[in-house]
């Protein structure tokens, strides 16, 4: 029983770290272009977040098991992206196959979400981070879940602010995208305040 609680506790802590302290979008700007796309088509935010979180979680677990093998090579740094991308692409392919029986128009939206979320720097970035930190399985699961949820929360915060960032009170040249970049910058400074030091690259 203690073992289960310890596992869940560790998972929860790493999940919180990934959501708040090491947020994919606010700390590392990963998936910024996808965030811009999601702000334009925000009805897809929740399904996108769910697919993204599942992809990161499954890929991180897969990566956890193959990392020791890749680490044996002298060229492990060069091989990691290929090894992890094979896992991510495998899940991407399986997810696309799983949508064959889904009816239109849900099918099109779901496939779009799968495509945009799986082949995204957030997924590969989170997998690379969780393995480079040398986390155990509980940490990998927690960090994977937290990365997906944290990214979705960050995009949701941007979506809430979007109408204000496009308002006429903002100078025309800054309206929309430039204001959004500055807004993410301010949010990232708040995250930096919580960490108290620069993020490890």
């Amino acid at each position: 029983m203690d073992l289960i609680f310890s596992f869940l506790g560790q998972m929860f802590i790493y999940g919180l770290v990934a959501v708040f302290l090491e947020n994919s979008l606010l700390s590392r700007a990963m998936g910024s272009s996808t965030a811009v796309w999601l702000m334009r088509d925000h009805r897809l935010l929740l399904p996108f977040g769910a697919v993204l979180t599942a992809t990161i979680l499954l890929s991180s677990i897969g990566a956890y098991f193959i990392t020791p093998w890749v680490n044996q090579s002298v060229y492990s740094y060069e091989l990691f992206p290929l090894a992890y991308s094979v896992i991510i692409c495998l899940f991407y392919f399986i997810a696309i196959l799983a949508t064959i029986k889904v009816k239109q128009p849900c099918k099109q939206d779901l496939r779009l979400c799968i495509h945009r979320s799986a082949l995204n720097s957030v997924v590969l970035g989170s997998v690379l981070l969780s393995t480079s930190y040398g986390l155990d399985l509980a940490g990998v699961i927690g960090f994977g879940l937290g990365s997906g949820i944290g990214y979705t929360l960050a995009v949701w915060m941007l979506r809430v602010a979007a109408p204000r960032l496009r308002s006429k009170a903002i100078p025309k040249s800054f309206r929309g995208f430039p204001a959004m970049l500055i807004y993410i910058g301010v949010l990232s400074l708040a995250v930096y305040g919580m960490i108290g030091h620069t993020v490890a690259l």
């Binding site: 998936g31 272009s33 740094y77 430039p178 970049l181 301010v186 620069t198 993020v199």
Partner: protein
């Protein structure tokens, strides 16, 4: 003069000018992460810029040889895996060119294999064009990214560390917050606003001779 040229060839600029008026990063919002987080010095920016150019150019050219009937899903997978293949020699090459800087750019070098020009724009616009036009557009995408990352790296290094390419420069202040993602986002925001302002100026009626 540029204004007159722009007004005469608006469609051409819209299609192929990914360097200034439709800049890859500042207008289209692609490949923001390496610019914001890892391009804190000119050397890091050069490293990422070279790696981005090599990975994106070679991968897109190789992808263009795939049969057009290949399903979208397989093309997307091929794009990422090809980029990972190209990443291996590229990483070894930039490691030789910039020893020590690989550590500083961290995960942002391997993350270039899923950059949004390669994963998004290739399928969306590049692969539908004829080879010559595709290459021209691809080169403008790459140049647009290079311009922004080099400029950002230079400004941030100068302000945050008072150095250029590692050589000390005397400035009366140090603005160390520029080395944080906050600095990157804010600088990009101001640059994006400047480009938009310039585009508005180009769009205004008038020959531009009097400007």
């Amino acid at each position: 003069m540029l204004k007159a040229l722009y007004q005469q060839h608006r469609q051409g600029f819209r299609d192929y000018d990914n360097i200034l008026t439709r800049n890859t990063v500042l207008v289209q919002g692609l490949c923001i992460a390496p610019v914001v987080v890892a391009a804190t010095t000119l050397k890091n920016a050069c490293l990422l810029g070279l790696a981005f150019a090599a990975i994106t150019f070679v991968s897109v050219v190789l992808l263009s040889f795939l049969p057009k009937k290949t399903p979208f899903t397989l093309r997307a997978i091929a794009a990422v895996l090809l980029a990972c293949g190209v990443f291996i020699p590229t990483a070894l090459w930039v490691r030789d060119l910039f020893p020590g800087n690989i550590q500083q750019v961290g995960i942002f070098l391997p993350l270039l294999v899923t950059n949004s020009v390669l994963v998004g724009k290739t399928e969306e616009s590049l692969l539908h064009l004829k080879k010559g036009k595709m290459l021209l557009k691809l080169i403008t995408y790459i140049l647009g990214f290079e311009l922004v990352i080099l400029f950002t790296g230079l400004v941030r290094e100068l302000l945050a560390f008072n150095t250029v390419w590692g050589n000390p420069v005397t400035l009366p202040f140090t603005f160390s917050v520029m080395a944080l993602p906050f600095g990157g986002f804010v600088l990009l925001g101001f640059l994006a606003a400047a480009v938009r302002r310039y585009r508005e100026h180009l769009n205004k009626p008038g020959s531009g001779e009097e400007e």
